[in-house]
């Protein structure tokens, strides 16, 4: 199957999933933090799992790539600093990074245990 179609199909599911998390949580930044950390755990698990390339394109590049977002994260961080909360902006930026990196490692560890 065409790799672009596989990535696009995963991208549709990822974007819809992120949109649904956003409408459920309805709190600025909590939804972005949640999708970015969850998506990092899942992608960390995927790259440590022996799956074929098509599955990696659908779930990894497509779904995880689209479910998580850097642009919303960057906008929210800049907006926090701009509204006079530079410490909250720093905490949000470093907290997201730390949680995502721990998430990648945890996802990888879970995959190793399962496989």
């Amino acid at each position: 199957m065409n790799p672009l179609l596989l990535v696009g199909a995963g991208g549709v599911a990822g974007a819809l999933g992120r949109h649904l998390v956003g409408t459920r949580l309805e709190r600025d930044r909590a939804d972005t933090l949640a999708v970015n950390v969850l998506g990092s755990v899942l992608l960390g698990a995927l790259v440590a799992t022996p799956i074929d390339e098509s599955a990696l394109l659908v779930v990894g590049t497509g779904f995880c790539g689209a479910f998580t977002t850097f642009s919303s994260f960057a906008f929210e961080t800049v907006r926090l600093a701009e509204l006079g909360h530079p410490r909250a902006a720093g905490l949000y930026a470093s907290g997201t990074l730390l949680a995502a990196l721990v998430g990648v490692t945890a996802g990888g560890a879970i995959a190793v245990v399962l496989w």
């Binding site: 990535v7 696009g8 990822g14 790539g65 998580t68 977002t69 642009s71 919303s72 960057a74 995502a100």
Partner: protein
């Protein structure tokens, strides 16, 4: 009547889906065609490129909403929530960062963070200039 009600509820999802498809496909195209820089592989450079470009465009889009508000909610949904949020990625950035040697990982975080934040500020300047 119930049919049009279903359609109006489904419309935001359709807009997000269309934007999400195009964003993910375009991100993939950039990442496979990005050239590596010295010791940094092409995929890392591609992720940096989409994150910075997408942050700039989202900055223009969202500051335009604050300043002038001429775009429709549908346009913001398809371009912002759908396209740009799918075009950019945090999970790939995080996985690639954990795969890099420590010094390169620090450099990758610094480059993605600093350039994306500057891009948002650049987007605000453009939105102000447009409005």
């Amino acid at each position: 009547m119930s049919e049009s009600h279903t359609l109006s509820r489904a419309e935001p999802l359709l807009l997000v889906a269309v934007g999400g498809f195009v964003g993910a496909v375009l991100r993939h195209a950039v990442s496979v065609s990005a050239p590596g820089l010295g010791v940094v592989e092409g995929a890392v450079v591609g992720t940096l490129a989409v994150n910075v470009l997408g942050s700039f465009a989202l900055g223009v889009l969202l500051y335009e909403a604050h300043l002038a508000d001429t775009l429709s909610a549908e346009t913001r949904l398809v371009l912002g929530t759908g396209f740009l949020s799918s075009f950019t990625t945090y999970s790939t950035f995080a996985v690639q960062t954990s795969d890099l040697a420590p010094a390169l990982a620090v450099g990758n975080v610094a480059a993605n963070y600093a350039l994306a934040f500057l891009a948002v500020v650049g987007g605000r300047l453009v939105a102000r200039w447009l409005s």
